[in-house]
Symmetry: C2
Subunit: 496 residues, 2 copies
């Protein structure tokens, strides 16, 4: 049988679940990350950049218990039989680094890291397989002063990128307090941590869903279970009403002031040493922050914050944007969480066998950028370059020299390098580039030592809305002496 | 048989062939890339950031002709059966983007891209599997004005990052001239491009190795072949002596001035329309650059530049650093190439079937950074934060407040968060952090409203070299009023 040998053309497509970023999407994110890095740096954090690739073994969460251990991560087998994978967050690589370089790194080790991470999830609307994270962690500091510092830094970072005070809140809680409440409710026996661990997991996830499910929904999950609108049933933790009351009391423990909240929590965990330890830690954190001027208008104790991740062992925190935006259906809603973190003690231990206290925060870069756009803090069309048009192909050197002069004066400029035949195409190109000015120099202008500048911003405005008087008084096109090119462009750009 | 069930600890190791970057290694590279991006931007280039992952089909160079198409790339099969891979350069993703968004992008499209790329090579000394590239390309501009612009921009970028004029040279050649020489030598028949294509490949690679093999080595490869010192034989192109003379004449065509070189090339390709076209292009490029002030002290025509990649179709260029460094054996040698590029017309065509002219350059980020370090333009120990020591655990809020005050004044500062028991450890920590100042405040100082500043830079110098007089006149430790903390730290940092 004859085989069809004509080459099939490859599809020019971004792989499913991935994205391409153009122009301002790149520079705006970069500017935001630079600003955050500056804040982290001022707090004494040092940058760390690990490679995108880790051994599956080091990543840990996804161990090779199947032939192809790519559940949740992008993984492949290396030639020497090791399984490699793309990192799924920046915390796992930090744990590996903290263990690997433990004799060389300062202790405590404060580090920040920024970069893409990858998740092998089914792509869907708004769900992407590569996205940025921006983390700061302190490894080796047992004191909750480290947690307080992270909260203050998070607050500073949000304000530095343009979220004003009052538009965000860093909410702090402590897993030890929740565990104390569980102990009081009889769902935790500190002498036998495995007992009812499954039930406690259900409680944790139920509390984490409070925003969405409300009081009744959470109560159902704490008890026998919950039937959702679609008819699906989620098994509950099986708590008695009395037990559930205690947990729900914890959720509602927030009071008008931090001191009052702490007092209420102290009542709730009475009898649980672990819970009391947690309350004292919260008090300490609040006191440290207060002494630095971070009051409850920026950072507050909120018992409803639990964070989903299982590995947190002490303080947990979350930054929420408190202003409203319109969702895709035009309904008002709170913007919600843009950052979260907490204390975790087990990650480095996996490698070394020794417990190493660590605490850190991760900022959701894409969500924070979306928030800044929603607030009009970034975005809009980035100004394009001054475009030097080509009237006469033979005088390309002249055009290049003009662009070169402008650039040397710090002005973004380029020569049109497409087919110059149709001048209209050049102006269309300048428009697509969001060029503020087109420089035009035909034979006549050259002969009299002149050059024409077309103010494209003004031109667009005049075309759209100008009165006849305005049109007359503000011509969008001026002829200037060639020697005055740079000065005239500066004036037209409003830099004169 | 009983199986050992005790959990094995994962190894804390950077995967083979990958690297971790700490502190200044991250910030110095970032600063260099930022500077280059600024130059690219000023030339009208827009940033593009594609994802790290592409379909193997789109990457193209490595098609799935084997079960596991990971020759040279890191590849894996996605759940929906597509093969995905990490990009191996930034040009292949650009070709995909140029095809995919061809109706939306301005044409010509100038873009820059910076980021890691991955190669699935056997790791070895100095050979890494993830490294940075930093590219600028113009897609859709047929004129060699685009090539000239890239050369000028490369020159500007090198000077902007700190390579002074005279320490580098951008060398330009044209594949068409080389092909013209091949035509004259009878190794190319433009009517039948496949004829002797294999031999031309050998010629190309031989010329590319001129620096290493010298005249005799290249001549051997042009002829019957070359026996190297180890006894290995490389088959040659099989050219006759007359044919080889012509090619060698091309290599030696460089003259004292660009005009003289061009004249010599014109003689060599006489009779080859393709070769003459290439010579005219070189003349045009030189003329355009000259008009913008880029003379032969920065950019010169050099027929010995050919660039290894097969896909170049016109002008090729290379930036070489001309200063000498000492190699690992202490011998002086030229630093060599840090950047290269050229014109390629076939990459977008793969997707669309239409030829799209493109030209671009790639800067070898790691080599350029190494060059800057060799010149002392970057590097040295980055200053660490002011470290506020902890004399009294109960006054943590006081210490945090001092650090906070310093930070608000723009001074990098942190509180020691390790176990504060042994003060010596705190000073060792400050030393490891390269801290310029340690802030010390015990109960006595607090009682009299004071704070002690220890100048660690001066302290180190005094310890190492000071005379008795100096020691007396410049104490490394001063007590100041608590209210003067910020001002005193500023003075000590030399910012006062």
């Amino acid at each position: 049988m004859a085989k069809d040998k004509s080459p099939r053309r490859p599809r020019a497509e971004t792989p499913k679940g991935f994205r391409d970023y153009f122009g301002a999407d790149v520079t705006e994110r970069k500017a935001m990350l630079d600003t955050i890095a500056e804040v982290y740096h001022r707090y004494g954090f040092d940058p760390l950049e690990t490679s995108a690739v880790e051994t599956v073994e080091a990543l840990g969460k996804y161990l090779p218990d199947v032939d192809r251990p790519n559940e949740g991560v992008f993984a492949w087998q290396d030639e020497d039989a090791d399984w490699l994978a793309l990192r799924y967050d920046l915390t796992a690589p930090l744990a590996r680094v903290a263990a690997q370089y433990r004799n060389d790194l300062p202790s405590p080790y404060r580090r920040y890291a920024m970069g893409p991470v990858w998740r092998n999830e089914k792509p869907g609307p708004g769900r992407f397989r590569q996205f940025y994270q921006c983390d700061a962690d302190t490894v080796g500091a047992p004191s909750v002063a480290a947690d307080a510092e992270i909260c203050a830094m998070l607050s500073d970072a949000l304000e530095a990128v343009g979220i004003p005070r009052g538009d965000y809140l860093v909410r702090v809680n402590n897993r030890k307090v929740l565990n104390g409440v569980m102990e009081v409710a009889g769902v935790l026996n500190t002498a036998d941590p495995d007992h009812m661990a499954h039930e406690r997991g259900i409680v944790l996830r139920a509390i984490d869903k409070f925003d969405r499910l409300g009081d009744a929904g959470v109560r159902a999950l704490l008890g026998a279970g919950r039937l959702d609108e679609s008819g699906d049933f989620t098994t509950g933790a099986g708590l008695s009403d009395d037990q559930a009351d205690i947990v729900m009391g914890f959720m509602a423990a927030r009071r008008a002031t931090g001191a009052a909240t702490v007092a209420r929590l102290r009542e709730l965990v009475s009898g649980s040493p672990l819970g009391l330890e947690g309350v004292v830690e919260l008090e300490t954190i609040a006191g440290l922050l207060d002494a630095q001027g971070y009051g409850p208008d920026r950072i507050e104790i909120d018992p409803s914050v639990v964070r989903g991740l299982g590995y947190y062992t002490g303080p947990v925190f979350e930054a929420e944007l408190t202003f409203e935006i319109l969702d895709e259906k035009g309904r008002k809603r709170q913007f919600g969480s843009v950052s979260g973190g907490g204390r975790y003690d087990g990650l480095v231990e996996r490698f070394t066998g020794q417990k190493v206290p660590a605490t850190g925060v991760s900022i959701g870069v894409d969500r924070l950028l979306a928030a800044l756009r929603a607030k009009g803090r970034v975005g809009g069309v980035a100004p394009g370059p001054v475009v030097v048009t080509v009237m006469d192909r033979d005088r390309m050197a002249d055009y290049q020299a003009m662009a070169s002069e402008l650039r040397r004066a710090g002005i973004r400029a380029e020569v049109y390098l497409g087919n110059p035949k149709q001048f209209g195409n050049q102006l269309k190109y300048a428009d697509k580039r969001a060029a503020p000015i087109a420089v035009i120099r035909g034979g006549d202008e050259a002969a009299r030592g002149a050059v024409v500048l077309k103010d494209l911003v003004l031109g667009a405005r005049i075309a759209a809305e100008a009165s006849v008087e305005e049109w007359k008084s503000q011509p969008a096109q001026v002829e200037v002496a060639r020697a005055d090119l740079v000065a005239a462009v500066r004036r037209m750009l409003g830099q004169g």
